[in-house]
């Protein structure tokens, strides 16, 4: 299916490209959101990634899967933008939840607190947690995207989990919820 889609896009079929967008835009958006913690910047990353993809689809050599190719561009673009805007770090880091508030207030509270904890983590930990826990990727996929050995993925994930738990404990204590 992937091969077909690439051939169609290369043949100038714009609808095939739209199909590709709908397949992967969610992932690109969530990875960008995980790294940048800012909705506007994440939208910019999605746009940039798909424009790059449209330009580079002819030079895609099929050595890796298209999925990994897209994931890698997404992570690189989001990290580049994060570096550019590092001075803005937590500013609009936002309660993203408050933008789409749920009817269920308890669920919403959990979500807001989880977001608050995630915002406090270093970008490296946020990225690996996003890839594994939010996007549900396998260790192998993460290893290919980040170009690191599987062992490093596991140890980095372990550190990220510990760091998350620590920050969560601190936050819950602060809020008097523990």
């Amino acid at each position: 299916m992937e091969r077909e889609l690439i051939d169609q896009i290369r043949g100038g079929n714009f609808q095939a490209f739209e199909k590709l967008y709908h397949l992967y835009a969610g992932f690109v958006y969530n990875v960008a959101l995980g790294i940048l913690r800012n909705a506007e910047d994440s939208e910019e990353v999605v746009q940039e990634v798909f424009l790059i993809l449209y330009r580079k689809i002819n030079s895609f050599l099929r050595k890796s899967s298209l999925r990994t190719f897209i994931y890698r561009i997404a992570v690189n673009q989001a990290i580049n933008l994060y570096r550019k805007r590092s001075h803005r770090t937590n500013c609009s880091s936002v309660s993203l939840t408050s933008q789409h508030k749920e009817a269920d207030s308890e669920y919403s509270e959990y979500k807001e607190l989880t977001e608050a904890v995630l915002n406090q983590l270093p970008v490296e930990h946020r990225l690996i947690l996003t890839l594994r826990e939010i996007e549900g990727l396998s260790y192998e996929d993460i290893s290919k995207i980040l170009k690191i050995p599987i062992g490093t993925v596991k140890s980095r994930l372990k550190r990220a989990r510990e760091s998350f738990m620590l920050k969560a404990r601190e936050l819950l204590e602060q809020e008097g919820l523990l």
Binding site: Q47, Y110, T114, F164, M165, L166, L172
Partner: protein
């Protein structure tokens, strides 16, 4: 509430990208395609430019071959009349 509860809520942070992004990508691609050589470009500039270039090349070649021909004719004349010979002077 425990830290583990918050950790379990991580997948809930998955969000859908806003719909307007696709429209802006589509517009940007179309804009870039228009910027890259529209067909009018070829009619307006590329064809007359190529024609002028060919014409200039033709003129250069023609000038070169004509001058080559003139030089050949000159030497042929010089050889035929042999102006360096002094015989003619003494005969007179």
């Amino acid at each position: 509430m425990k830290p583990e509860d918050l950790y379990r809520h991580l997948p809930d942070l998955k969000a859908d990208p806003p719909r307007h992004i696709w429209r802006s990508i589509e517009q940007e691609i179309l804009k870039r395609q228009e910027r890259r050589f529209p067909p009018v470009f070829y009619l307006k500039w590329a064809i007359p430019f190529s024609a002028a270039l060919l014409m200039a090349l033709f003129v250069c070649c023609q000038t070169y071959f004509t001058s080559q021909q003139e030089i050949t004719t000159y030497y042929a004349l010089v050889e035929a009349f042999d102006f360096s010979s002094t015989d003619l002077v003494f005969d007179m």
